[in-house]
Symmetry: C2
């Protein structure tokens, strides 16, 4: 355990230097890391084969094995993403706002890194590089703790990342991987509130709950995405159908896909069967409220559990509502504060939907699938937060920074 405490202390020291590194040096390290990965592809894949062999022995699902594999294509994507992060604007040093006080003090807010970020994640080894790149670019030291399934791959990648930092003049301990796989190390890491500023867990709900329950350090996370589309009375039928199909079907396994469709009762007779047919044609199973069942005869009845379910597959719960208010109450009750969209032609209701719902992303006439950092133009995404502190919704580089007050005086003292 002294290892983790020691690593966190070294990360803290590195973070003080890293906070004041020039953008060019940080970018150089990112390009250097891409070069190292390309040059050492064979060695990386050798290490990766050990993880794959262990995965097969343990009987991991083909999907898990797929996510674990460092194919030529995966390695290429990892390198490209490093180069993309290098191309992003550096948020550090940005002056967010300035104002002057009656006594002449000039006050401003300047963006600075958070300091040390701990990332706790599961099988995908590409997270090792992606997360490290975003932390470095935003001037943060990073302590990585990957899952045991990818330990050989992660170790091999971390060595290359550390080497790239050193070659570029960045502090030696800017990127560190916790090389052990015991849970005790995670517990110890979560107690280092004096040296680690933020924990970002990436993985299943079980991992995230474990982290939240045991951390003294602030945690940015989302448990799940139960996203809703509400089709309003008088919605454009063609638009409603296209948005519903896209939100559910285009990539059902991700957190911003639609899990529940709410539709106004006036649209239940004609439009709902059309939307349902279009979804069923794509293989979607529909679980509906009693009113839905009368209009979509081959739908299954929805249970109470369905309304809070994050299916992440081709299943959709559907509820007919008497008003937008009822739709919003349903979202308040069963939603996960992720993303909700209204399809409407009524501007007043659109504005109320945008204003009154407390979810991290609210949309009018657009697919919930747009709810991510790249699509919003943040340039990158370290994750999505559904808790309201610090960041709410998709998080990019800026969300890995904070602001300090800078004050310029001419000798002012307080009376």
């Amino acid at each position: 355990m002294t290892d983790v405490i020691d690593m966190a202390k070294k990360a803290r020291e590195a973070s003080l230097r890293l906070a004041n590194m020039r953008t060019d040096d940080k970018n150089k390290a990112l390009h250097e890391a891409a070069r190292e990965i390309r040059e050492n592809a064979a060695a990386l894949q050798e290490a990766n084969r050990k993880d794959l062999a262990a995965a097969k022995e343990k009987g991991l699902s083909p999907a898990m094995v797929d996510r674990l594999t460092l194919s030529d294509k995966t390695l290429d994507q990892i390198c490209k993403s490093l180069e993309e992060v290098a191309a992003l604007a550096d948020p550090v040093g940005e002056i967010v706002s300035t104002w002057k006080r009656p006594n002449g003090l000039e006050i401003g807010k300047m963006r600075i890194p958070l300091g040390v970020i701990g990332i706790i994640y599961e099988a995908r080894p590409n997270v090792t590089v992606d997360a490290a790149a975003l932390c470095l670019k935003s001037g943060n030291a990073v302590l990585l703790r990957g899952g045991s399934e990818a330990i050989h791959s992660n170790r091999a990648l971390a060595i290359l990342l550390a080497r790239a930092c050193q070659a570029s003049g960045l502090p030696e301990h800017a990127v560190q991987l916790i090389g052990t796989t015991d849970r005790a190390a995670v517990l110890e890491m979560l107690k280092q509130e004096e040296t680690i500023d933020l924990i970002i867990p990436r993985g299943g709900e079980g991992l995230i709950r474990f982290v939240v329950e045991n951390s003294r350090i602030p945690v940015l996370k989302h448990y799940k995405g139960v996203c809703h589309v509400y089709v309003d009375q008088g919605a454009d039928p063609e638009m409603a159908r296209r948005i519903c199909v896209n939100a559910k079907v285009q990539r059902p396994g991700v957190c911003n896909s639609m899990e529940t469709l709410l539709i106004h009762e006036k649209e239940a007779k004609t439009l709902l069967p059309e939307i349902a047919a279009a979804l069923q044609k794509e293989g979607v199973e529909i679980r509906g409220c009693p009113a839905t069942l009368t209009h979509v005869p081959d739908a299954k009845p929805a249970t109470e559990e369905d309304w809070g379910a994050e299916y992440l597959e081709l299943i959709l719960s559907v509820k007919v509502v008497a008003s937008m208010e009822e739709a919003m109450e349903h979202i308040d009750r069963y939603g996960s504060l992720h993303t909700e969209s209204i399809v409407t032609r009524d501007e007043g209701r659109a504005e109320r939907f945008l204003r009154e719902l407390q979810s991290s992303t609210v949309m009018v006439n657009a697919s919930t699938r747009f709810s991510d950092g790249f699509e919003f133009g943040l340039g990158a995404e370290i994750g999505i937060s559904t808790s309201k502190l610090h960041a709410f919704g998709p998080m990019g580089l800026k969300e890995l920074t904070t602001t300090k007050f800078i004050v310029r005086g001419q000798g002012q003292i307080r009376e």
Copy 2:
């Protein structure tokens, strides 16, 4: 314990309505609360006398008893502060920024309340009203948990606050006080991460550490303020003297007063004795490094503990440094990320000091005593954060809000 869980659930429900209340209604409740307190002053003071009697029995210090007392003047200040919060701009609904994506999506960020805020505080009963006012104005429901010393006063104040909410159409459970004084209730409160969004502890370091160690909910806090003034080579002697005296002496018992003076060795021979004499004239005890002792003969030697001490009284540690770099290294090592100020005539060093230190407030040529929400023009102050997540430095109404993404489309789907 079911009480606390139930109160937190009711607060969550209240918060959903409160988030969409009009500014006028929130202001009405604040004015109404001031009216109730003025009208019921006698009853409040009656309740307060019970707390004062218990305090005397327990042998609380005169300073503690003083802070506990609801004098006519204290009540008047409480009411004025309610009216001041009513006069502040409502942060809820503010559009922070907007941009357009190549696909036509219009994206914006809108300020919304955090939801439910838990305040855990010690003896001062005015915190009950001040904290509730700031939470209500920013659209948040609040769960108050005061210290046992002020329980009768707090109960009496909470009844008036709840009555003012009801009379103004705000939800009944917008303001609730946990009426028991057992620590188990606090522990239970700190586990309600599904219903409480933020915990703000206000009190001594012991209380704050207890909260941080036991909370699953994000906590905004500062442990202590070890503020530094660095007097640079070539600083204006008169300005340096005035700033040092003001920063140490004007109100030594608060977190933004200076605890350590760092001075460039070139100024140690002439200026340091002048500054020390001015401080000693005000009753300040000086504890210095060896170099300080040669220039300020009646100073005591500083120990290692002195460099990290928050004295909160007329004691100052003084260190002579060879450069601004050494001063900044000292601040990195011993500081508390609160407030640091440089007195200098060199613009380059001023800029480096502002840019490179990672404290929540960095100043040039101004007294550290300006580091608070009112002096910075935030309009109010709910506290000062020295942890970097969400808010860093003095926190006003805006820091009790978050932003959500609002997206306006014309039927866009993701390819």
